[in-house]
Amino acid sequence: MPSAGAETKPAVASAMTPGPTPSFAALARRWYRLNQAGLRAAVIGAISLAAFLVVWHLLTTYRVVFFVRFVNVPTPLAVYASFTKAMHDPKFLMHLLLSCRRIFIGFSLAAIVGVPLGLIMGRFKLVHEAVFPVAEVLRPIPAIAWVPMAIMLWPTNEQSIVFITFLGSFFPILVNTLHGMSLVDPVLVRAAQCLGARERSIFREVYFPASLPHIFTGLTVGMGVAWVSLIAAEMISGQYGIGYFTWEAYSLVQYADIALGMIAIGVLGLASSLLIRAAGRLVMPWRPK
């Protein structure tokens, strides 16, 4: 480590002296040692998923009835068959696409409104005092309970479903942003003031980045609730959408499609929360992984 400073240098930088170039085998062994924990988790995870499939297969092929009735539950193979069929069915793909679009619009609106509102409420007491009580009263109402009201409020079915999705994700985003703002270290604000920062710069350079980890927690939770709300809304009032598909499958006695719909919902939910986590890493490079 080069150091131009004449002063004594604290022994901080650990020695990173590269030895002679190691062989490929040695590198592979070192890689294995460093990633052992991750590999282990992956292997155990795969085994556990396989075991789940096997148990599911056994329970359904032998139509087990033991408190819970597996008589009508489709086997994994039946679900797989309906999956391959659905993949070539433009209608199924449209269901998926529509749900994704509703999530995208509802969730984006919630983030666009919720994050700035939380930041402003966290910074300005008057706004907090005025808005917080209303938010607290509305927050415990589950988004599903809004369905009749939403149908009355909005001219089209599509809009009311997006509205329900918006409501579901809005409150977690707002509350977490607010929480992040309340935890900003005052010493960082004072440090910024001592360096000549004014109100607006402090907001942009201190409050906002300091709240980002909590904002992303809010976005992750909000995305989960958005899916919950969307599926419920689609089942009740929908035409199209993966929630509607799942409910319709039940009405039409297409049992394999019920499981297919559920799995599709799970995969989409997982994918969207992974997307948010990736965005978080991108936006907050200073955070440890």
């Binding site: 604290p10 003031q193 710069s201």
Partner: protein
Amino acid sequence: MNEVRTKPPLGRIEVSNFSLSYESIDGAVQAVTDTRIHVDPGEFVSIVGPSGCGKSTLLNAVAGFLKPTTGVVTVDGEPVNGPSAERGMVFQQYSLFPWKTVRENVEFGLKMRGMPRSQRERAARTLLGLAGLEAFEKHYPERLSGGMKQRVGIVRALATGPKVLLLDEPFGALDAQTRVIMQQILTNMWQRLKISVLFVTHDIDEAIFLSDRVYCMTARPGSIKAEIPIPLDARGSSR
């Protein structure tokens, strides 16, 4: 910066008739009472006292975070009202912005002043080089040791070329060995920059080692009990 050099030396801190009290349920509590201190341009002055004696309160008033109940704080004759980049500050708690790299932290004050990016990058690199920190310019603070963080904190406070440097127990959280190193670094920087320094500590040895003059404070209510000039030869031998 050049303009500052041609004027007579700047950075005289004056605190006179100073008292500060705050309201509590039991009435007004006197944190600091009837205090008068000064720091001459280029002088290194410490305030020593037990914890809770009000020395940090006094320093925070000089920084502009607290308003005196009575009396005035002036720097070069101008009353202090609110924090400003004229008075650089180093805190006891690590106060680097975790979302900024070491260099971006050092650049912060210059950015606030509106200096263009390329110019402030160069300035920050130069300063980090002087402090022996150039190898760490791209690191985030989380990866630095405590001593290293405070070193960056000092560089950051000096980057805007303040008239005075205020330090609030900056080495309080460091281990003894790192502390000694940091004291030497601070002395070196001070000698090079000829800046006025007001340093708060509870460690008497530290105060004697660093300072031209030491104020001793007592608690409840906080006030200056003694003012002790430190002869040059006493400093080296204090360790």
